[in-house]
């Protein structure tokens, strides 16, 4: 296949960026999108130019590192895939592909396609955990049976990879899907239930501090989420939040 790439080039956080055009030939459908980017970078280095900086690590759709906005969609076309799992067979011969970084005030660009998502870490630090010590002197794991249905539901929420596609997709740059997934996971389990009120308040506070926008229920995040995190998480968190503010204030 032949492909025309238009890729975002931005030297640093405070520089202006622009799209740069590159023609790609002999692209195989079995290549992953990132492998195609590797081929481009290899060529740029050989030509004495600077390659594009982009984030990636596992290339298996699980670490949440890769983060490209492709043809106006977070992680590109296709549902339930991350950028690294996207393959070139999803594109047509002769197509022009636009590649940009996540864009959100809470995710400043570091360079080219790489952004800073440490705001997500700070949200988790605000309360996305169960306050249990790591001594191992807890009770036997089977002493609290958890209905399979609850455990499965908690698991589904827990599969969020923290990639930030939900934020990049949302016109308000809201982090509600990400935050609600963690809140749901922990409040669905007896272990996390005890501190659930405080948790949700602290995490939502931090989310506001970081500059993420409000959720206006457009549902775009659910569509682009590579892990199928559903809007029910947001609904659950809203209930949790409401009852927490009522009891705490």
């Amino acid at each position: 296949m032949n492909i025309t790439l238009k890729v975002w080039r931005q030297k640093g956080p405070n520089s202006l960026g622009a799209m740069e055009t590159h023609k790609m030939t002999e692209v195989s459908g079995d290549m992953s999108f990132l492998e195609m980017m590797d081929v481009l970078n290899d060529r740029l280095v050989r030509e004495g130019k600077e390659p594009f900086a982009f984030d990636h690590d596992c290339r298996e759709g699980i670490c949440g590192t890769c983060s490209m906005f492709i043809n106006g969609e977070a992680h590109g076309p296709g549902r339930n895939v991350t950028t690294c799992q996207l393959h070139m067979r999803s594109f047509k011969d002769g197509e022009t592909i636009h590649v940009e970084p996540w864009r959100s005030a809470a995710f400043p660009v570091i360079k080219d396609l790489t952004v800073d998502r440490s705001s997500f870490d700070r949200i988790i630090q605000a309360g996305g955990y169960v306050s249990v010590n790591t001594s191992g002197d807890t009770q036997d794991a089977n002493s609290i049976p958890i209905p399979k249905h609850d455990a499965d539901e908690a698991f589904d929420s827990a599969t969020c990879i923290g990639c930030g596609a939900c934020v990049a997709t949302c016109k308000n740059s809201s982090a509600m899907l990400f935050v609600s997934a963690k809140v749901s996971q922990l409040s669905l389990l007896p272990q996390g239930k005890t501190e659930s009120s405080e948790r949700v308040l602290r995490m939502v506070d931090q989310m506001d501090i970081e500059g993420f926008g409000n959720c206006t229920n457009t549902g775009a995040c659910e569509v682009e989420c590579p892990k199928g995190i559903s809007l029910t998480n947001i609904a659950r968190m809203n209930r949790e939040f409401l009852s927490s503010t009522l009891t705490s204030k």
Binding site: S28, D30, L34, T65, Y129, T138, A141, A158
Partner: protein, 665 residues
């Protein structure tokens, strides 16, 4: 000279006695002690969280943009623990025994027993943290089986066990960060260890965003930096996984143990093209339900390769389920090294089923049928059609491995619910690593290693679902205690200054090396050299090794290293976010480590576990150990160049287990 510090006394009491006897640091003094933990995978995140909770001041580093993205996140199948919840006869002793045997009798009894002892607490701990393990309908935890064992002791969370465990450890770490007990440095890469008066007293790190070279001091440094499988370029490891931290430590005096012990995992998606950047694992758990086969006749192989026949066209008696044929007792669940070699044997003999001839089938048809029949009964469906049964069975398989099947389809564009998967072995894990004593300290005082970065528990072959167990055991339950024994001497030391000549020297070296790479007048990208190193390693130090190939490999790697320094082009600048530079410094270390791996493989002329020497095999092609001459750990001391490393031997003593030729027949 090598003192493994294994405590005296009966095996089952060693750890508890040791814990009772080691020196402690009292809480008030812990506040005056700094510890650097490099790495935030299962080992690093759990160690940092636990140490901080105990009261030490912890600095934690990872090269990813968040500690949650450490490579442990990618682990799929599960974690072992001898809980015996299934009441199938499991026990601490059995887990210990399976692990020593699985490792082909090249690990320390005392370490492995300790691992088995603490395994149960890991599960308790994780459940308390909110890790959503799979459960049965009754609400209790579910288990599955992994290779090389005959009990069900593997806890799992679908095909995302590593993710769930790491997020648990990450949450414990986040809690300590929020309390100010851990200072987290994301996007920071450790570039060297700093030694003062023979002790590890800090590190030099590079801030990957600004390129700044930083000094960090501490009373002890813990390396939890993962494995070095990427020496082969293509592996199931994440792209950033690297050996630099352990290799730098090695060059500063830490002995490197068994570098040649590499695990080649039998079930990975085969290579598809020259642009391939990594290989994807299909979890071992699939071998619970998948059957591995190739056609019996070469004409069928031909027909499949040229597309005139499909896998499903072949009848039962036209298929060679070679693992079931060769190893009736364990069948498809033989250990990884055995399964990988058997696949290679069939493919080398010309039975590979894809165009490159390097693939075998992993087939779920029988599982669909078996599960479907059970479902029909439990759902009370009368006179079901065959199709109904298969569809019900597919649903069951989907609930167990759905994400793996999706991943397979995404990568290959083939639907594994309709046609068998095609798989081939790939580099996956490294049993070798920094030599550590029972306290997990390397031969440099104050420098510790935990998780995949050390060599300690898996001998010559790791059993499935045991790496996660070891990482969390080291980080939550071993290191936090054993490190106290060393730090007890440091309660009056006070803060270690970073303006000493030792820090100056280490920083200068790192800066010089970086500027040499950046300013090199070459024309070839880093990856080009990495691919070539990978090919040498795979062809000559891979699934089967021999003297001639290993000797050739050593020379080829030395030449490649020279060429790298002469011709590499590292674009961009040193004072900036520069992934090319990161790759270059990491590759520089792989180019030395690769040679060390070949040298170690050459020296160990026996076969054991994942290390197979053509010269040492039984009549039917199984690995043949040489216990008389090789029942030891090879611990290499760096003396100036990889080829001049000096071999030290730590004898392995088996008081509780009788050494036997491993048999899975």
């Amino acid at each position: 000279m090598l003192d493994s510090k294994i405590p005296e006394g009966p095996l089952a009491e060693k750890w508890s006695k040791h814990k009772d006897n080691i020196r402690l640091v009292n809480p008030a003094n812990k506040r005056h002690i700094d510890i650097i933990v490099v790495g935030t995978g299962l080992a690093g995140a759990s160690a940092a969280a636990s140490l901080a909770e105990m009261g030490y001041n912890v600095k934690s580093l990872c090269f990813q943009d968040s500690p949650r993205r450490a490579h442990s996140i990618a682990a799929q199948g599960g974690i072992n623990a001898s809980k015996n919840y299934q009441n199938d006869g499991d026990s601490v002793y059995r887990l210990f025994y399976d692990t020593v045997k699985g490792g082909d009798y090249r690990s320390r009894e005392a370490n492995v027993h300790r691992l088995a002892e603490v395994s149960g607490s890991i599960i308790d701990q994780c459940v308390a943290q909110g890790v959503p393990f799979a459960r049965e309908y009754g609400g209790l935890l579910d288990n599955r089986s992994f290779g090389g064992v005959q009990v069900s002791r593997t806890f799992y969370a679908k095909g995302q066990t590593g993710q769930q465990l790491l997020l648990g450890a990450y949450s414990a770490l986040s809690r300590q960060i929020s309390k100010g007990k851990v200072e987290m440095l994301n996007r920071h890469e450790m570039m060297d260890v700093v030694k003062i008066d023979g002790k590890a007293r800090g590190i030099i790190a590079r801030n990957l965003i600004t390129g700044e070279i930083e000094r960090h001091s501490a009373h002890a440094v813990v390396l939890c930096t993962g494995g070095y499988g990427n020496a082969f370029y293509l592996s199931t490891n994440a792209m950033g996984s690297n050996a630099s931290a352990v290799w730098r430590a090695h060059k500063k005096g830490s002995f490197f143990a068994n570098p040649c012990f590499t695990q080649i995992h039998p079930t990975c998606i085969p290579v598809s093209g020259h642009y391939q950047s990594k290989l994807t694992l299909m979890s071992e758990s699939l071998r619970n339900d998948g059957r591995i086969w190739v056609p019996k006749s070469k004409s069928d192989v031909e027909a499949i390769r040229n597309g005139s026949k499909k896998a499903i066209d072949l009848k039962e008696d036209e298929r060679d389920y070679y693992l079931e044929r060769r190893y009736p007792a364990f069948g498809n669940l033989v250990p990884r090294d055995v399964a990988s070699r058997a696949a290679k044997e069939r493919c080398d003999a010309g039975y590979g089923v894809n165009k490159t001839g390097q693939a075998v089938y992993l087939d779920f048809a029988s599982a669909f049928e078996r599960y479907g029949k059970t479902e029909v009964l439990t759902q009370g469906i009368e006179n079901p059609t065959h199709e109904q049964i298969i569809n019900l069975g597919r649903e069951v398989v989907k609930s167990k491995y759905g994400n793996l099947f999706d991943m397979y389809k995404q990568i290959t564009d083939d639907n594994p619910y309709e046609t068998p998967m095609m798989i081939y072995p790939a580099v996956h894990y490294t049993m070798g690593g920094l030599w550590v004593d029972y306290n997990l300290m390397t031969t440099v005082p104050g420098l510790f290693a935990a998780g995949e970065a050390n060599f300690s528990d898996h001998g010559a072959n790791r059993l499935g679902a045991s790496a996660l167990m070891q990482g969390l055991a080291d980080g939550y339950f071993v290191l936090p205690y054993t490190i106290g024994d060393y730090l007890a001497d440091d309660i009056r030391t006070g803060k270690i200054p970073t303006n000493s000549p030792e820090f100056d020297e280490a920083e200068k070296q790192v800066k010089d090396e970086i500027s040499a790479l950046i300013n090199n007048n070459g024309d070839t990208p880093v990856d080009d050299f990495h691919r070539r190193l990978g090919l040498i390693m795979w062809n000559k130090c891979g699934m089967a090794r021999n003297e001639k190939h290993l000797k050739e490999a050593i020379v080829e790697i030395q030449e490649l290293r020279k060429e790298f320094y002469a011709k590499v082009r590292v674009s961009g600048s040193a004072d900036d976010f520069n992934p090319e530079l990161e790759k270059a410094t990491r590759l520089a270390d792989f180019l030395e480590l690769g040679e060390a791996m070949c040298l170690d493989a050459l020296t160990r002329s026996e076969s054991c576990g994942g290390h197979f020497r053509d010269e040492s095999q039984t009549e039917d092609g199984e690995a043949l150990r040489d216990d008389e001459n090789f029942t030891f750990v090879s611990a290499w001391e760096y003396t100036g160049a990889p080829s001049e490393a000096k071999l030290h031997k730590e004898p392995l003593v088996y008081d509780n287990i009788e050494l036997k030729q491993r048999s899975y027949k």
